[in-house]
Structure formats: C-alpha cells, structure tokens
C-alpha cells in the first residue's frame, strides 16, 4: 500500500510521538519499505485459520484472591519525575 506523510503523521499522533519536518521524509521512505516487506505475509495460505495470540493455549496460572501487601506509597512514588503530598503530579487538565 501507498504510505503517505499524512498517514505517518496520524499514526505518530496515535502513538504520542512526533517527527520533525526534517526527519519525516526519510522516516516515511523507510517505514514504507518495512510495511511493503511485511506484506509478504499475504502470499501465505491463511484461509480458515483462526488467529493465534499466544503460544500456550489453555488455563492460565491463577492464585487465591487474597488481600496482600503491595508497594508502599513512598516506593511507588520513588521514581516519579514530579510528586506532591503522596501523589503523582501532572499538568492541569481541568480549567
């Protein structure tokens, strides 16, 4: 398929990434090459096959639903770039 600048910009917005105008052109060329290579999958006979999302199908490991300790607030916040009074801080989202 044809990969255009607008499509790449749209995907970048979904991924919360940005490409400068300078870097966009070369990225689009490379991206198009990779997508066209991926399309090789279309040569395979996939009729009637159900998708496989996981190598091991079956019942997963489950545990008792018991209350247990977890990370303390100070541990959970220890790597936060910005925090206050036991909370992560973020830019204002409500006016």
């Amino acid at each position: 398929m044809q990969i255009e600048n607008a499509l790449v910009k749209k995907v970048a917005a979904l991924a919360r990434l940005e490409f400068s105008d300078d870097s966009l052109a070369s990225f689009v060329t490379e991206f198009a090459k990779i997508i066209s290579y991926i399309e090789k999958i279309n040569e395979l006979p996939l009729e009637g096959l159900s998708p496989l999302s996981h190598p091991v199908e079956g019942v997963q490991m489950l545990r008792e639903d018991k209350v247990k300790g977890s990370l303390s607030i100070s541990d959970a916040l220890s790597n936060a770039p910005s925090k206050r009074d036991g909370f992560f801080t973020v830019p204002r989202v409500l006016e």
């Binding site: 790449v8 995907v11 970048a12 979904l14 991924a15 919360r16 990434l17 940005e18 990225f27 490379e30 991206f31 090459k33 990779i34 997508i35 290579y37 991926i38 399309e39 090789k40 999958i41 279309n42 040569e43 395979l44 006979p45 996939l46 096959l49 159900s50 998708p51 496989l52 999302s53 996981h54 190598p55 091991v56 019942v59 997963q60 490991m61 489950l62 545990r63 990370l71 541990d75 959970a76 220890s78 790597n79 936060a80 770039p81 910005s82 992560f88 973020v90 830019p91 204002r92 989202v93």
Partner: protein
Amino acid sequence: MKKILRFSAKKQAELLKKGEVSSRELVEAYLERIEERRDINAFITISDEALSEAKRMDSVRAGGENVGPLSGLPVAIKDNIVTKGIRTTCASKMLEKFVPPFDATVVEKIKGSGGIVLGKTNMDEFAMGSSSEWSIFGAVKNPLDTTLTAGGSSGGSAAAVADFQAPFALGSDTGGSARLPASFCSIVGFKPTYGRVSRYGLVAFASSLDQIAPLARNVEDIAFLFNIIAGPDERDSTSIKEPFVPLENLGFDISKVKLGMVKEGLGEGVEKRVRDVVVRAIEMLPSAVDEVSVPEVNYSVPIYYVISTAEASSNLARYDGIRYSYRADGYSDLKDLYIKTRTEGFGEEVKRRIMIGTFVLSSGYYEAYFLRAQKARRLIRDRLDTLFERFDFLVMPTSPTVPFRLGEKLSDPLAMYMSDMLTIIANLGGYPAISLPASKKESIGLQIIAPRMEDDRLLRFAFEVEKALSAM
C-alpha cells in the same frame, strides 16, 4: 586475569562450597576483570553491593550455614530485568534513572539460592535490536574481535560471559535475543519453553514472545542456572502451572534420536560458511538426520515484525512521563507532555517499532496486518507441532551470518531484522531452543529446537552434542 575465572560456573560454585576460594575473592577478581575490559562495554551498571554481599555470604558460610547451590557465586543480569535498589535502564534514556523498588522473580530466586547480582549488562534499547548497538551507553563490542558486534539484544550478557567477566548471565529472548549473541560470541544461549520461567520483573517488550534466557560457556552451566530460575509463579499468569522438576543428570542416548534438519535454514539468505560449518557439525552426530521443509521460515521475519511491534506499541504506552520515567521539559499541557517525553525519551529503533506496531493495530489496517500475522503464527505452530510428531528435535544454524561489523547494519533496519530469521519460529510457537558453538574457529552457532515442555530433554541432548562437537 585470575585463573579461577576460566573455570566453569559449576566448578567455581564447588570451590566456594569447599572453602577453597571465598566469595569476596571471586567477586573482587570479577570486578578487576570488568575494569580491565571496560572497552568491551558489557556492563551498564556494576552493583555497589556485590562486594558487601559476597562478604556477607562468606560469613554466613563460615557460620556453618548452607547458603544454597550458588554458594556466593556472582551472576550478570541483563538490564531489562528489574533489580531492587540497582538502576535498571533498558539502555534507554526513558529509564536512565529508574531504580526499581522490587526484584524480578528470577532475581529473587538467584538471591535465594546464594547468588550475587554482579551488575547489569548492556543491550539494545528495550531489547529491540540484533547487535547491541542501539544503547544510549554505546555499543557492546565482541570480545573475540572488537571490530565486530556481539549480537543482540542480550549482547552485554553474552560478551561478559565469553570474556570471563561473569561466570554466567541472564538475558532475554523475544525473537532470538539470547541465542543470536550466544552464537556471535561463541557461547551457549538457551531460550526455555514459553512460560517455564516467570516474566515477573522482566520489562515487557512483546509479552507473548518474551522469555528470560540463561547464557553460559557450556550446557552444564546453562542447566545449573535454569534449575534455579524455572518454575511456576503466581505473579505471572502466563507461567506454566505444572511444577518444575530440576534436571539432575545430563546425558542421553543420542543414537536413538531423530533430527529434522530444516532446509530453509540452509537456503537463501544464509551464508555459505555458516551452512558448511553447521551441516558438518550435524553430520558428526550419531543421530539419524532427515531433511525437512518449513517454508514459513521465509515468512517468519514479517510475521514477527507485525506481532512483536504490535505488542510493543501497547506495552510501551506505559512510558508517559508521569509515574517512573524520564519527563521532558517545556510542555504546554498533558498531551504535549506525553508527546515531548516519548519523542525525546525513546531512541530511533524503538520509535520505529512503536510506529509499525501502532500502524498494524490501527483501525482500517488491523485485519489486513495484525490478524493475518496471527493466523500465520498458527500456520507455523501447526507445521512445527506436526513435525515434532516425527522428529525429536529440529536443527539448523542460529544466525544466517557470521558476526557482522560494528555499524554495518545500523542504517538498514530490514537487513538488521533478517539476523533473526532462523530464531523467530521458536518464539512464535513457544518452543525451547538452544544455540551451541558449532565450530572452534569461527563464531557460528548450531541451533536445536525441541517440542514445548521438553526443556529437560533438549538440555540433555545438547550436553551430548557439545561433547561430540568438542571431540571434533
């Protein structure tokens, strides 16, 4: 370099147990070796606590207590496996200052068995790469020839082990990331059956493919480390429930084994030198060999780059600049904070893969790309499951090429991706697979793949193969 560093991990543990060497002496010898060989760039962080832990082990042992099978032996850990109190960066600016508040299950198990975390090894950023060059800390160099790459993404772990900077190491393997560097550094790398080792505390790349993988200089040491880290874990819902029975005796009647030699692993895109060495190694074995065809091998790279990037784009959404990662300056609002943080915090290859993954999952393209790749994944698994009804193991090279030069493939992502063409099928189907040196002269790995849950038969067989090849 101290002579003891050349001994196997098993032998070093025995000497520790007998009191012929102390853990402190051993850790000091490793720290000295690492310092001498800084140019290899195998480690990102050396643990500040390694020496004090060693002293503590020595005094516990002096008190007559059993410290566990590792007996105060140090272990190198890839920097995408979290270690409490020791920075865990994934070789990314995004996590450059991240100090985990907890240990991964495998790290807990190593510590509980008397092991010491020596340091954290260099890698491709978030394990995305095949050469260990995509690291903000610089490329890992191959210790056997420093103009070459060490392979990736667990290149730091492989280089450390090959260069006697650690007795053995943990890496991770999503599409070949432990087996490929093992092949490039002429050591052994083992990807267990999916789910046999807990992923709790392994920084997620592609969750349905990721598996923690031991790297060592021989099969016996691989089994030694695997015995310690394997088993069910209630903190990883994808871990296998069946209890793990540790391997006691290696060795196997190799003459009754039926091997399937994968034709496509010796075909187009595979260097002649690699083919010749691997075929010669296989022919050396007393096992019966038949040629088999797995045509999907030629499609494994495209399938993998849809599935792994899709899962990665979802997993890496957590790096938002709010909770525990890098945060950019100068943002105007919350969305701008996300965009600036992620654009500055992720490197080129990681961004490329997030973009591919976001694209194949996006509305309008999901069916054409992601769903098709998942169907193709079933095609491969069905093919291999059927082959395993007739064959005990499948064999082929680990890497289509010998180790390439530093910088050679950095500007050509597709050429780099092709490095994984022979290792990916094991991850797509969840099979255990191992890479062993097939030659004493060149860094070329022989790969052996086994049915799911037959890790123990695979290791026992590999032990015999290693013996047969070393007699060559």
